[in-house]
Symmetry: C2
Subunit: 223 residues, 2 copies
């Protein structure tokens, strides 16, 4: 009998995290984590989370509420007074959708849960490419946070952060998703709430361009 | 007119954070942050937080609910199935009161808030001494987390973590509190819920020993 190690995968319900889960599902036992931080599209993301987790028969799920971020504000994703940019991102500009230091909160939840359930890896589908401009989506940030995890957890704990998509662009992520038969039709990427994806926000534009360049049709519905 | 820089101080309502706030209050504009993580003594701690903040006339206050940590469990502070140790801690042993990676969550909240309100420092009254054995109360952890903050926040942001008590023991903390006229009578340190402090848990024992060695009487009420 082979012992498979247990990994927690951060699953927002979007394209990237779904492909990240598909990677981890190849040879790991899985637990999935979703966070609600008061984002506009939370209910839609949460149903995508459960649909993708169901697809992979993952029983161990945690949904953590970090909606204090909503009260802190500072981002168009959680503050309806700030509008979401449309179109593709500008190189070198941190977009209004940046939620200050958000990924540190998400990683911290994953690390605490990993210590308790004995998971040895924490997978996150963060992407540095596409010029998204989020400072908490860089290799430098994940390396530094990994050092903080090593220093700040019990000496007998070893929790490694894995970022398999960090250097892929959306075209490669879509291709990889297809190779792994990831259920991309169950995912949700749009930043604007609604029944169907808006097709115009930064996230939709990046996704649509990725599918187009990969030569596949995006299976979700757009307005 | 002198420009004072703004600092966020993490204020649990305990002895250490009160002395930390007293240090920062000397020459900083202040904002105070309290987190509720489902700890047994939350209501008592919260009233100590407000009393100490009132004493220093701090208007800018944030209470963040990170009680998802309660569902994650793994600590006697938040899991009533695990009993709290009494007596002084054993060197080299991580006590049952350790909440996995807790300080990373607290720091992450502080950093996000600092980015939004323009604070340039985040003060935390963590103490590595007294053999408390918490891995997230070490200089190594704070240095590594500081590097993650530098990498994971906007390029034009500079948020420094300050740990003025890190290498002090309780005796020195009590002395410093007296020098700064910190309102130690308003603080709460006990890990066990109650009207009066239990006097027996690890936290009470460390506190009482600190006052005794410093030659002062602890002004709070014990059972």
């Amino acid at each position: 009998m082979t012992t498979r190690s247990k990994a927690i995968v951060l699953l927002s319900g979007g394209l990237d995290s779904c492909v990240c889960l598909a990677e981890a599902a190849r040879d790991r036992d899985l637990a999935v984590l979703h966070v609600n931080y008061g984002q506009r599209t939370e209910q839609r993301e949460l149903s995508a989370f459960h649909a993708v987790a169901d697809h992979y028969h993952v029983g161990e799920r945690l949904v953590a509420d970090i909606s204090y971020l909503e009260r802190i504000g500072g981002s168009s994703l959680i503050d309806t007074a700030v509008s979401v940019e449309t179109g593709l991102p500008n190189e070198g500009v941190v977009p209004s959708t940046y939620v200050p230091f958000r990924n540190a909160h998400i990683l911290a939840v994953g690390v605490s849960w990993a210590e308790v359930i004995g998971a040895r890896e924490l997978w996150i589908g963060a992407v540095a490419e596409d010029g998204s401009g989020y400072p908490d989506c860089t290799a430098e940030f994940y390396e530094a946070f990994g050092a903080a995890v090593a220093a700040g957890t019990k000496p007998d704990t070893s929790i490694v952060i894995r970022t398999p998509l960090l250097n892929l662009d959306k075209e490669k992520i879509v291709r990889r998703g297809h190779e792994l038969a990831a259920p991309l039709h169950l995912t949700w990427s749009c930043y604007v709430d609604g029944e169907a994806a808006c097709g115009a926000c930064e996230s939709c534009q990046l996704r649509l361009r990725g599918f187009e360049r990969a030569g596949f049709e995006d299976p979700i519905t757009y307005r």
